[in-house]
Amino acid sequence: MKTDITWAIGGEAGFGIMSSGTMLAKTFSRAGYGVIASNEYPSLIRGGHNFVSVRITTATVHAPKKSIHILIALNKETIDLHKSDLDLNAYVVYDEKDYAWKQEEFNHPITLISIPFSELLKQKNGDAVMRNTIALGVSMFLLGKDISLLTHVIQDQFKGKGEAIVTENIDIATLGYTYVKDHFEALHDQNISEGIIKEPQLVMNASEAVALGSLAGGMKFAAIYPMTPINALIPLFADHATELGIVYKQPEDEIAGINMAIGASLAGARSMVATSGGGFALMVEAVSMAGVMEVPVVIDLGMRPGPATGMPTWTEQGELHMVLHAGHGEFPRIILAPGDVEESYTLAKTAFDLAEQFQTPIFLLTDKYINETLWQLPREVLKTQTKGEIHADTDALPFKRYDRSTQSGISKRSFPGQKDHEYIANSYEHDEYGYTTEESGMRKTMVEKRLYKMKAIQAIIPPPTVYGEENADITFVAFGSLKGVVLDAMQTVKETGIKVKLIHFSWVYPMVEETIKQLLEKEKRLISIEQNATGQLASLIREATGVTIAEKWLKYDGRQWTTEEIIERAKGMK
């Protein structure tokens, strides 16, 4: 029986490639399978090549696979580009009218399935953009499933658009299903094991999980200027602002965005911004301001390949150093880098509590891969949330907003509207009431007050998570979105007799020197695996702990490390 299948669809941008991936992933998720869907597309709205692959497994899955079992090609280019990724005997669904493919044009035996997409659409007066819907019907048959699983998803997906649209989509999907059934009956795959996941799952990307986590963390104000790869946050907040009880504002630029968020925070609303590297570059001065004013603010930075505009729709982990050092002057910060959708939810939620507790900027460091890959999130996870309380403290008068006598460096906040608790939130150096000062003693204690918070933060930072076997032959060290692919690869590497371990940082900064040093020093062979060209995690580890990780596996072509690449390289080490 088969327990692990990769289905993929490619075609021109504008032809619903992405949404077919989503629908198939949801269909199989509902049926108890593990699913993960990842996409590749250029920075174009129409005309470029769009590609989505959905990996379907009987149990939980951590990462996509490159090798394809079923390829739906809505144009010739899809096959040209992905021919080399086809598994032995893979099914290739295409339309002869696009190009009459022959077996000889492939490296190894495959099964060619020509479907007259345009002809079928004509029968139903369907629009050319609905080829993907036929493809979904075809896929259900090839995957050995009943069409009803898909039609339920179609119903839910399109119900907002009216009964007519629902019926049209179901009819067209059924047309595809019936066509393969009539012409390729033998290809109905009955060898696929049933999915075994019982707990209800949601299918979403990390941006959406960050959005939900933020809400669970009491977020009330978001100002987000659009930028790939965090755009999915926007409709979630904007379309549902009333239901969610929040204000979402589209600012004129990222500088305005973060300044608005800081303003809202000063007035007592938990607030956030989200952006990518270029937008974040514009925010940096205000990050420093949040540091000195001691204002809570959460910044979700979705990394993509730079420098500058770079490759907007591809992935990289190139901004760790930027975030570490962003903002002039010295002030505390925390950097969290979720490894998957569940961590995106929980860490986003936590970020707001941390911001509230330590009154300083908190970063969520995500990337294109994690933000635009569709993952499963156990619905149960959403039950965890915080009260989202903000602390408007009353205190002995006169109120000292920046009381420097506390050990932790944390002083009480007040909010406008609170009588006798006026203060100045001042970007200049200030005294305990917020009034500007340049006096040497006050300057010194205020710097120290802010940095004491770093010690308080260190005391609550959890260690990195360790996965895999004791006495490992090789130990991967990674942060953020590499978690899934490494975990996935480890299963196979282990089978080859190599003992393997992953030390994964989702709490990236600050690093607690002794803990991490001890953890790393007992490992035989450390490999830092990163999605950048300079080994930014390895250099942070070295700076924070003195431990040098000599071996670095770095990838910076804009494409996420794949399971296969890791396995290949690990095997080569034997």
Binding site: H240, A241, E243, P251, G268, L382, E422, G434, Y435, T436
Partner: protein
Amino acid sequence: MKEDQFLTATKPTWCPGCGNFGIWMALKNALTKLAIPRENIVIVYGVGCHGNMRDWMNVYGVEGLHGRALPVAQGIKLANPNLTVIAITGDGDCLGEGGNHFIHAAKRNPNITVLVHNNEVYGLTTGQASPTAQIGMVTKSTPTGVVDPPFTPSSLGIFAGATFAARGFTGDIPFLAELIRAAIIHKGFSVVDMLQPCVTFDKIHTYQWYRERIQKVNISEESLGDKKQSIELASTFGEKIPIGVLHKRVENTSEDREIVLKNGPLSLLPTVSVDTLELLSQFQ
């Protein structure tokens, strides 16, 4: 005389004779007359000589970054519309570094008041030309005279969508106080362009220079809403400089457009139960 409730322990550090004194007095008079509880006032300051006022003004204050007062002010107002939010900005702060924020704030029409300390120079950085500096004016950054034509803050504001605009002169404190009061009462984005002599770095635009040119205008309520006429008046700057309320009309504010704010300040709204949200169906 009533005690000045806004005083702090710090005394102003502006140059003796600086136009900022008059603005400070006028603002305090306007606030006193309005009798807004002190704790409900938030002043967001730009960075410049004008912004130094924060240290001698006992209200909730935010001294932000150069040019960025308006986004902070909007964030505060969107989080708690019950507050009276005032931005103290400079001509450089508001129209140079912060020009984009100014036009976009005007476009949104939040119920906040922007007081532009218009001294034609960057005072705090010792006297370079500001975006309102007149052609020919010799400054530290324009040794042979300004060559690029200036802005007038109110005309730009009206054009972009401000629903209230006025121009005042810091040499006439009672009149300026009235304008500031009217601007604060106005429900919407109000701009007051305040002609402010910088006695240290601008030897041309003295109190006397302004006194010879300003002319009070008294426009009827009906014609105050005429954008074209208001822009015309607001851009008149030379031998004659009209002062007074130049523009006024009623529009929805950006806070009006946020339905959740009808339930009160954001800080008082409960955190949603994420696991029961209807929108979760889109992820199934």
